[in-house]
């Protein structure tokens, strides 16, 4: 939760620390006081301890890199036999029959729809609110209160997803159902609000899932956005103020242009989280055999929840392989989304200070 936010404030002004760090390494320690030895030929006196410690640290670094590679490779190895045995098109089939290893029929198109739809609903709800919170915390809340307020938002991230699932299915769904029914009745002519494969009032659909996901990704978007907004150069803010701008105009002309990329990057991180969320959606979405009809009042399964629900039938390598193929797709998608998020985030606010 606060892992990335708290220490950040100490970082101010220590940015150049890295540059100077290389220097002490060349100090040959105890040898230094002996001026007699002028020849620099044996400057590379490296102690055994140093060598060991260095290789342990470097090895750990390499291990992390290898782990990610291993995740991709092992999932691929396990997925290929199942994909070869698959009788239908993996990408476009709506079937999911994996019980009989001799007649595997599985496709991901419906999983992809439920996954993407619930994440997009979540993003649509969470983005404006997260931006509002970040602006409130950085520009409006008094200094003394900004910390505790930020902590309150971070607490949202500390609640485990299984509990959001329970809350979403048992407590939240009944409350927001009337709204879902209203949307369905009045805006049903728009395809995404049309009748889904279960009644709109039952609550166990993409709409409820999206609202719960929005709560879950709120802290991550807020955290990143807050950090970027905080780094808006004071000179720019003061400049705008000096020109007579109101607080809103200061935000519109300095804070927002400066932090926009960070906000988008943070939202992508949130999207990555939403795409991979498992248990909350397993609890909220009701399983149905009817194919979704591309409405937000559909029920069904996401990549992640399908895998979690399918764990009961993990008894044959090919069956498991089918689920692993779905997992591989999820891995590739979240990898791409997260990489993009980091890239956008790191390119934000650069060279403007």
């Amino acid at each position: 939760m606060t892992d990335s936010t708290k220490p950040e404030q100490y970082l101010e002004g220590t940015g150049d620390a890295d540059a100077s760090r290389g220097a002490p390494e060349e100090n040959p320690g105890p040898e230094a006081p002996i001026p007699a030895r002028e020849s620099r030929s044996d400057k590379s006196v490296v102690r055994l301890g140093d060598r060991v410690f260095r290789s342990v640290a470097t090895g750990s670094g390499a291990f992390v890199v290898a782990t990610i590679a291993a995740i991709g490779i092992f999932l691929l190895i396990r997925a290929i036999p199942a994909l070869q045995a698959n009788e239908v098109n993996f990408l476009f089939s709506r079937e999911w029959r994996t019980g009989d290893p001799d007649n595997l029929r599985f496709g991901i198109i419906d999983l992809a729809w439920i996954t993407v739809a619930s994440s997009l609903v979540a993003l649509l709800l969470a983005m404006p609110i997260a931006c509002g919170i970040a602006l409130f915390l950085t520009q409006y809340a008094p200094r003394i209160l900004a910390r505790p307020f930020a902590y309150i938002v971070d607490l949202l991230a500390a609640v485990p997803s299984v509990i959001y699932g329970l809350w979403g299915a048992l407590v939240l769904a009944p409350v927001i159902n009337p709204f879902a029914v209203w949307l369905n009745n009045n805006l049903g002519w728009i395809p995404i609000f049309a009748d889904g494969n279960i009644p709109a009032g039952s609550g166990r659909n993409v709409f409820t899932a999206g609202v719960v996901l929005a709560v879950m990704i709120l802290p991550i978007i807020t955290g990143v956005t807050r950090e970027v907004f905080e780094r808006t150069p004071t000179t720019q803010i003061e400049g705008a103020l000096a020109l007579g701008a109101t607080k809103w105009e200061v935000i519109r002309t300095t804070v927002w242009p400066f932090g926009r990329n960070g906000f988008i990057g943070g939202s992508m991180l949130g999207l990555g989280r939403a795409l991979g969320e498992t248990v909350a959606l397993t609890i909220i979405l009701s399983t149905t055999f009817e194919a979704p009809s591309y409405s937000i009042f559909d029920a069904g399964a996401t990549f992640a929840s399908k895998i979690a629900l399918g764990s009961a039938e993990f008894n044959h390598n090919l069956t498991v392989g089918a689920y692993i193929s779905a997992g591989l797709v999820l891995f590739v998608i979240t990898f791409a989304v997260n990489a993009l998020a980091r890239w956008i985030e790191s390119s934000s606010g650069k060279g403007k200070e």
Binding site: S60, W167, A339
Partner: protein, 304 residues
């Protein structure tokens, strides 16, 4: 801004805001209200979840049996029973996870800051840690399943869960170590080198102790995070309603798994157990978070 020059040349009279047109003032006030409401909207679900948990889960927790009994032998309609078996599982699994991921994570952090500098490996590792921190927990579970259970042929167990939790905890530990090492003043390192202390000893005896509080805090927060993970549990271990201390064999309960499984008992007693376990889990996580805050207060890093 759009203030015309005449306004600027005139010396500011008492409340400067009077000069601002109604439209701009309205917009400003509207924005303030909207941002305030946004913050309020975020607090609502948090309070709502916590109130629900307290209302539904407090009764089981007040029963002393809750803390030193398991759900063993309970019929679907039986109230009572306790969460001891799941507490054991959660604590054992996260402890093993910590034992593996803390040294590894700290070593990666040390590599990135003290050795890696800007090398290609360090940049790749940073990127991979970023990716790892966005790894869906179900994929972590599937990977361990593909590696540990299908490839190596080990049975489903609590230890397999610990392994998958390592993948989720590692990025948290690396990140905090990295951030904390970065703020250790260079003067400390230089002083140590000047006294002739080798680099590895400097890191071990000077740099790491200075950053210790922050690293500990990060570890606690990481632990609190993996404690609530449920997705890998569904794939990697079976649920047991009795107490099992063996991480390598047999089904093993843990709090998230207990919540998830007990939900399937469609009786009031099932709900009683489910909400009880949920409140226990949140209390445990809050306790660890509190401990993290305390640790960081107690041994705050002294910079300059």
């Amino acid at each position: 801004m759009r203030t015309d020059t005449a306004d600027v040349e005139r010396p500011a009279t008492a409340p400067a805001f009077q000069q601002i047109g109604l439209g701009r003032r309205l917009k400003n006030n509207l924005a303030t209200t909207v941002f305030l409401i946004a913050f309020g909207v975020a607090v609502v679900p948090l309070l709502w979840v916590l109130i629900t948990l307290l209302r539904e889960g407090l009764v089981p927790l007040l029963d002393p049996d809750w803390w030193y009994h398991s759900f063993y032998g309970l019929l679907p309609n039986d109230f009572g029973g306790g969460i001891y078996h799941a507490l054991v599982g959660t604590i054992l699994q996260t402890l093993v996870c910590a034992v593996i991921s803390v040294p590894l994570g700290v070593a990666v952090g040390v590599f990135l800051i003290e050795y890696g500098q800007n090398s290609r490996l360090a940049r790749t590792a940073t990127f991979m840690v970023d990716i790892l921190s966005g790894l869906p927990s179900i994929v972590a579970g599937l990977f361990i399943y593909a590696l540990w259970i299908t490839t190596f042929g080990f049975p489903k167990s609590g230890f397999a869960v610990s392994l998958s939790l390592v993948l989720l905890m590692l990025p948290v530990v690396v990140r905090t170590t990295e951030t904390m090492l970065r703020i250790v003043p260079d003067e400390l390192r230089e002083a140590s080198y000047a006294l002739g202390v080798p680099k590895w000893k400097t890191i071990l005896k000077v740099v790491l102790p200075t950053a210790l509080s922050g690293i500990l805090t990060g570890i606690m927060l990481g632990l609190a995070r993996v404690m609530g993970e449920t997705a890998p549990l569904l794939i990697l271990v079976g649920y047991a309603r009795s107490i099992n201390f063996n991480l390598f064999q047999g089904n093993m309960a843990s709090l998230p798994l207990a919540i998830y499984t007990e939900r399937k008992t469609p009786t009031d007693a099932g709900d009683y157990r489910m909400w009880g376990a949920a409140l226990t889990l949140v209390l445990l996580i809050m306790l660890i978070n509190l401990l993290a805050t305390l640790l960081s207060r107690l041994f705050a890093v002294k910079t300059k």
